[in-house]
């Protein structure tokens, strides 16, 4: 399931160019915002289709490309801070030995892991339906694919920047 970087890159470039050609950028009436949306959509679709249906996130992304970016992060991180503050208060007032403190630390860690797993689920396309092992495997694949996407987009951007420079 894990492809080498170069193969994935080639697949992505092939599919992205096909998608970009369909966007008809030669039409000058497109606004910058419309063009940006088209570029992003074609890049995401290309990234997902390069995986050829082998991963959950790619299938989820193709069927639902316009996912809203999750904004629950601030709430979740303030919830984590409250948990840590509460634990410090408990630890200060606890009169028991190390065993109880270990238990508290462990439950704080479990709570943090649970909260952060929820955040991760909201970031991966289709993540809400995955169990823990599936989530981590999908995350590994998703991060690899995102890196390829960023790599190729950066190369095109720098090539376009060079091409736009006045010819000396």
């Amino acid at each position: 399931m894990h492809l080498p970087h170069s193969t994935l890159k080639q697949e992505f470039v092939k599919k992205w160019i096909m998608g970009l050609q369909r966007c008809k950028f030669s039409n000058k009436k497109m606004s910058i915002f419309e063009r940006k949306k088209a570029i992003k959509l074609s890049a995401d679709t290309a990234m997902a289709s390069a995986r050829k249906g082998l991963t959950c996130w790619s299938r989820a992304l193709i069927s639902n490309p316009d996912r809203p970016v999750p904004t629950t992060t601030r709430r979740a991180s303030s919830a984590c801070k409250k948990i840590v503050k509460r634990s410090r208060r408990i630890r200060r007032t606890a009169k028991c030995g190390a065993a109880r403190k270990g238990q508290i630390t462990r439950s704080i860690a479990q709570c943090l892991v649970r909260k952060r797993t929820q955040i991760l689920k909201s970031l991966i396309p289709g993540g809400e339906f995955m169990n823990e092992v599936c989530l981590i495997e999908e995350t590994l694949d998703y991060i690899t694919s995102l890196r390829v996407q960023v790599d190729v987009m950066r190369s095109l951007a720098s090539a376009s920047a060079r091409a736009s420079e006045p010819h000396n």
Binding site: F25, E132, V133, A163
Partner: protein, 92 residues
């Protein structure tokens, strides 16, 4: 904790071993630039998850910025250079 939850959510799958999760988390550690460079052997699971979320968010932001930049650049590829001709023939 994890085995109880996984038994509830996946009816057909047998118990997920802790070793599997540890192995996957260590693979995740290898991918994350922050943790990989720090070279500490034991990083907590919650830290790895936090760094993963931050990394994914930063990659999303970069894709967004690059899309914006490309949208401006591709609008103005009218120059005579060879590179412009190549890009135009590829994409437009």
């Amino acid at each position: 904790m994890s085995s109880r939850r996984s038994r509830q959510s996946t009816a057909g799958v047998s118990r997920i071993s802790d070793d599997q999760i540890i192995e996957l988390v260590s693979k995740l550690q290898q991918l994350l630039p922050e943790i990989r460079d720090r070279r500490s052997d034991k990083v907590s699971a919650s830290k790895v998850l936090q760094e993963t979320c931050n990394y994914i968010r930063s990659l999303h932001r970069e894709v967004d910025d690059l899309s914006e930049r490309l949208s401006q650049l591709l609008a103005t590829i009218d120059a005579d250079s060879a590179e412009a001709a190549i890009i135009r023939s590829l994409i437009m």
